[in-house]
Symmetry: C2
Subunit: 197 residues, 2 copies
């Protein structure tokens, strides 16, 4: 077994996430990737296969980290409903934090990619479905804990929440001030809390 790769796959993917998240798939060139990962084209293609496959790996890593963040928020609250409300409010602070991009990378990809890049678009869709499933599970837990009425549909609530977050984060990409964004997130959080019986 001679030689291990010099690059750190995890670190490289993190750089790729940052780059693609910021610029999108089509506006990012392999030249950009070379700079960001400090790798030469041959190494990049040996390690990741193609620009599209690297992008899909980056999507995976992004989603995994996003899901972990949500999980952390939820774990820090006894009530699922409060956890979700707090998660929304934390997204309201998106203007203050330093992030590669305010909009969600999955949504950016879903909207940017077409049938020509079907593989990556399906990947984005699948990862968004994963997120939505977590929201649904959360509302189911809230229902079992007696937090929300049994007449409510966890599936519909989860769907609605995902759509709201997609909207919130797309809105965050607009040229609006931090207060407006915080108010918007707060209004959404209040809607969640009002589900409480």
């Amino acid at each position: 077994m001679p030689r291990q790769p010099l690059y750190d796959r995890q670190r490289a993917l993190d750089q790729a996430v940052q780059l693609f998240w910021q610029q999108g798939f089509h506006a990012t060139s392999i030249k950009d990737v070379e700079r960001a990962l400090d790798m030469r084209p041959g190494s990049i293609y040996a390690a990741f296969g193609s620009k599209s496959r690297l992008f899909q790996d980056a999507l995976d890593r992004y989603a995994q980290q996003g899901l972990a963040e949500l999980e952390a928020q939820l774990q820090s609250h006894a009530s699922p409903l409060s956890g979700l409300a707090d998660y929304l409010r934390s997204l309201g602070g998106l203007r203050d934090r330093v992030v590669p991009c305010r909009a969600c990378m999955l949504v950016k990809s879903l909207l940017e990619l077409g049938e020509r890049d079907a593989a990556a678009q399906n990947q984005a869709d699948r990862l968004l479905a994963l997120m939505e499933a977590r929201f649904v599970a959360c509302f189911e837990a809230a229902q079992e804990a007696g937090e929300i009425a049994t007449t409510q549909s966890p599936v519909r609530l989860g769907r609605r929440l995902q759509a709201e977050i997609m909207g919130l984060r797309a809105y965050a990409q607009r040229d609006v001030d931090a207060t407006a964004l915080r108010q918007l997130a707060d209004d959404m959080a209040v809607s969640i809390e009002q589900l409480r019986v």
Copy 2:
């Protein structure tokens, strides 16, 4: 004054809207534009200046038509609140209608474009602000008509509605069935109607 252009500017722009709306800015080449507008590169550049300026003109036309659609919906209802609710429900049918793309072209552009294409991104932002202003005016009218409580803030309601529509139409881009989308739009419409005192 010799010779008028053979092409019809309006028609050409409509074709451009369809093309860019579907594929986005970066994934659309001038070759694509040549085919869609049935114009040769020289004519395209004489008429529109550059790919970026053509895109901005297309954005303008898209927004103008979108605003007109909203206006038509509102005119067909005596109540502003009902008009907005119906507008949302009509967006819920996005899966059934044949459209170039389910997501909003302004949002797609806002998310796709970066600082490199600042002019077009600002354009998208400005046009979204125009839409939001119309929503705000609608809630103000509803308030003056006594439909919603005076404690509500039309600015916040307008912002929220825009974010919801951004989310709804981004969600519509996902691989979900028509029923799910109609339910989502309906849930949002109900939220609007529940503002009624």
